[in-house]
Amino acid sequence: MIHDFATIWAQRADVLSGLLNTVILLVSSALASLVLGALLTPMLMSKRKPIARAATAYVDAMRCAPFLLFVYLIYFGLPTLGISLSNWWAGAIALILYNTAYMAELLRGAWHELPVTLIESGKAYGFSGFTLLRRIILPPIFLRAMPMIGNQIIQIVKDSAFLTVIAVNELTHEMTGIQSTYFIPFAAFVTAVLLYWCVCLAIEAGTGALNKLAEERRA
């Protein structure tokens, strides 16, 4: 058993490149889906019926679809429409589009809890449109939704493992490769599980620190 883990250690370059790829996918899709989610949220709550209905339909469809199905849809479906992508980009786009819907839904929930007076006083001070959104509405919403955003980012980590089926070189994919070369499944996958755990602990620590910072600033 120790020997198996020594083999993994000998392959650390591959393991690290897999981990790095997972982290890059995670960071870029977390940021992109947060930004897009923040833009989608006002559409969900729009007073114009068609916009609100379209945005709600998108969010509901994403919330019903399993991530793997959506990955296949992007990976096999887009080329049918004449858009061909590399595996990595197909995976990243699937992660972003899928999680945008969840982020938008989280932010909408936080928006509903926001006191109306805050927005009204913002308007009274002459903020409007995008500035109102950026300066007055979004900051408290982000703070309120922070723990849930943290959970969703952990969900992105877990979703990224699905990308192994379309041969994106993330952690699980690298580990499957090592496992099938050296026949050390236990060591390979336990290492993967522990590395995922470390990533998630880092995310939890990160959101916790941000939360604390925000509370100190508010106080």
Binding site: F67, L68, L69, L73, F162, P185, Y196
Partner: protein, 219 residues
């Protein structure tokens, strides 16, 4: 797509449903047991459950499935794909269910428990008559939410060759060279399953409310 293609995806739906049902039936009580261990602060087990939940919650279902299917034979315990899938899904859902049950147990009013103690109720009756009915009511939405997530994570077991909705759709797509229609049909099937679950939750909740109202009238 021919009628046979539709039929094969629908058969995939049967295996998705039976796998999720099996893991839910095993995972919900297991989660309750884990939550009770943490609630009762059983000395060493308490820490063990804490680590278990923390690791499993951050572990992608794909990686967990691969770990169980490929690594257990190393210890002389080889499982067929279906039992391996059920074990993997149960492990992952039990960790999430544990958190749902535990938050309901934390919310449980202490004075009721003390009242039951002062009536000299034996431990089992105390759990069965006082604690569980209320905790069950409080956890139901969280549990159903976790069930829908569970259904959406069943495609993960396709990596060990189980044909469920997503994989069946993929097969049909690669036979007909038209990936979009089978994926859209698969999406509809998932939508139907999740919708039925939500309806069941609503009806159970309304029945509970009726029950409470009737008890109120009697008192």
């Amino acid at each position: 797509m021919t009628a046979f293609d539709y039929w094969s995806i629908t058969r995939g739906a049967l295996s998705t449903i039976s796998l999720s049902l099996a893991s839910i039936v095993l995972g919900v009580p297991l989660g309750l047991a884990l939550a009770l261990i943490r609630w009762a602060r059983v000395p060493v087990l308490d820490r063990a459950v804490y680590s278990y939940v923390s690791i499993v919650r951050s572990c992608p279902t794909v990686t967990l499935t691969l770990l169980i299917f490929f690594a257990l034979p190393q210890f002389g315990l080889s499982l067929d794909p279906v039992p391996a899938a059920i074990v993997a899904l149960t492990i992952s859902t039990s960790a999430f269910n544990c958190e749902v049950w535990r938050s309901a147990l934390i919310e449980f009013p202490r004075d009721q428990y003390d009242a039951a103690l002062s009536f000299a109720m034996p431990r089992l009756t105390r759990m069965r008559r006082i604690v569980l009915p209320q905790v069950w009511r409080a956890s139901l939405p969280g549990l159903v939410n976790e069930m829908t997530l569970q259904i959406k994570s069943t495609p993960a077991v396709a990596v060990i060759g189980i044909v469920e909705i997503t994989r069946a759709a993929l097969r049909v797509g690669s036979n007909t060279y038209e990936p979009l229609p089978p994926f859209v049909f698969a999406l509809v099937l998932y939508g139907v399953i999740v919708y039925v679950l939500l309806r069941v939750q609503r009806s159970i909740e309304s029945r509970m409310r009726h029950g409470e109202a009737r008890q109120g009238e009697a008192a």
